[in-house]
Structure formats: C-alpha cells, structure tokens
Amino acid sequence: MKSLEELQAIRDRVKAQINNREAMDGSDIRVIVGMATCGIAAGARPVLTTFMEEVEAKKLSNVKVGQTGCIGLCKFEPIVEVLVPGQEKVTYVNVDPNKAREIVQSHILNGKPVVEYMYK
C-alpha cells in the first residue's frame, strides 16, 4: 500500500533533482496533450497518463508533460504536440497509449519523429 512516508521519500528525491537541474532550464522537451471535451472523449486521458508514466519509468527529467485545451482539429483527437528546443514543433494525431510509447522511444529518446503518426 502506498503511504505518505513513501511520498516524503519521493519529495526528497524530486527536491534533489530540481537542485541539480537548476542551470539547465530552457532545454526541456515539452509534450502537450489536448484535454478539452473532444480530446477526453477520443481517449486523451490514457494518452496523457501514458506519457507521464513513460517519462517517470525512463527517468527523463528533461521532459515536461503538459496539457492544453482544444487545438481546433477535434476529429484528429487525441492530439499531441512535441516541442524539442531548436526544432520545429511536431503534431501527432489520433494518438493512443501504444503510439505514445512509440513516440517517447523514437522521437524523444532517439530523436527520430514518428512520421506516420504526424498531422499531414
């Protein structure tokens, strides 16, 4: 059973990480998931939590997972934007948890955007 003592240990770990990383801000990769009614109905919630779980499991401390509202292409939801500093923004459409894992592995870890999931 997860306890608040365990949470304290995680807190201390996160605190230490933040101190180590203070100088590196601006170099973060950002993953943004559309979370309006259209996105939620199309399955955006498990996509967002998959990105969070992957980032946590792979200890990608330079990746920030965020949310936004309706991106304006409701029929392509769930929509995910990946922003790598110094590169053009990549928009993925009709994302599901499996595609999310692939995007983390290929795009975020290996630097190769997954062309077949991109908005064309």
Binding site: L7, R11, V14, K15, T37, A41, R45, E56, G66, Q67
Partner: protein, 184 residues
C-alpha cells in the same frame, strides 16, 4: 464518453475555467437505494440564473464565454438514460455544484472507470487548484485532499511527474480497497 470518470474530468475543467481554487468531487454508491451519485462542487465565479437555464442545451452555448459546451448536456443525457437525474445550482461569486445520479445497476449506466487517472490529470493541469475526492460505497469512505499532500510535499511542485504517478497509484489502491475491490 466511455466512463463516468471522463465526464468528471470534463466537468471539472469547467470549474477550472471558472477560476475555482477548490473543486470537491464526491462519488457515492448506495447499494440499498441502487444509486451512484456524482457531485462536483467548485468555488468558481458561478453563473447567473439566466445563463444557468441554458447550460444543458448544447446549442444555446455562447461561444464567446467558452465556459460550457457539450460537457454538461452529455452527462445529463447519460444520467437520464440510466434512470437517474441531473441537477445544477450556481450562485454568482460563490460557485457551482453539479449533481448527477445514476441507477447503480441500471443496464445503461456507463462504468465509473479510472477515477485515480482523472484526479491525476486534474492535478497536472496548470491551474493552482486544490482537489478533494470523496469516494464512498455504503458508508465506507476514502478521502483524498491535495492540501494534505501539499503539506507533506513542503514546497515541491505536486505536478512533478514522479509525484503525480505515485499519487495515481495511491488513489487507485485506496479506491480498490473499498467495497472489497468490487468495481463500480
């Protein structure tokens, strides 16, 4: 929506857009009365009586405000299809409360779904909002409050991925313990 937890996420987003600093989500199952009620209460800016009358009509929505759209009509329809009811009260400057009741064993009731994941996504939203979750089945209750979590966190951002992933598992474990692990 495929699960009620997704409706909860969607309705709570209305609260965030209404500037709420606290959202209380109460999920209560009563097997004797055969009801599953979901109540979402916020302390946001509230709505005028005039506007309140139109919120469950998707076509009466004024896009200028963008405060409501399909969210409320959807959950209202789902409750009514499952032998339940829908009620919304609001007061300008005080907040809004949405109550939906479903027939617990009604064949058309959508499953409750993953409440822990919904709370995780809400915590991860950019707004500085406190959340209280009260989950109860026949009086057996689990209560989660971000204010208590933040006390433990001592200034560390609750939106840190590692913390959100942990809290999701914690909420899920506690919910599963209630009602002998029987899924609603």
């Amino acid at each position: 929506m495929t699960e009620l937890a997704l409706n909860i996420l969607d309705i709570s987003n209305n609260s965030l857009r209404a500037g709420a600093t606290e959202v209380i989500i109460e999920i209560c199952a009563d097997t004797k009365a055969d009801t599953l009620s979901i109540k979402i209460t916020d302390n946001g800016k509230g709505m005028s009586l005039e506007f309140l009358k139109t919120v469950t009509d998707p076509f009466a929505t004024t896009r200028k405000t963008r405060r409501v759209g399909m969210g409320l009509p959807l959950i209202k329809m789902e409750a009514e299809m499952a032998g339940g009811s829908f009620d919304i009260t609001s007061e300008v400057g005080k907040g809004t409360s949405v109550t939906t009741v479903f027939g617990l064993t009604h064949v058309d009731r959508p499953p409750l779904g993953d409440v822990a994941e919904t709370i995780a996504v809400l915590i991860g939203a950019p707004e500085e909002t406190e959340y209280v979750l009260v989950y109860s089945v026949d009086g057996e209750e689990y209560r989660f409050d971000t204010k208590e979590i933040k006390e433990v966190l001592d200034g560390v951002d609750i939106r840190s991925t590692e913390i959100i992933v942990f809290l999701t598992q914690m909420i899920r474990e506690n919910i599963n313990k209630i009602n002998g692990g029987k899924i609603l």
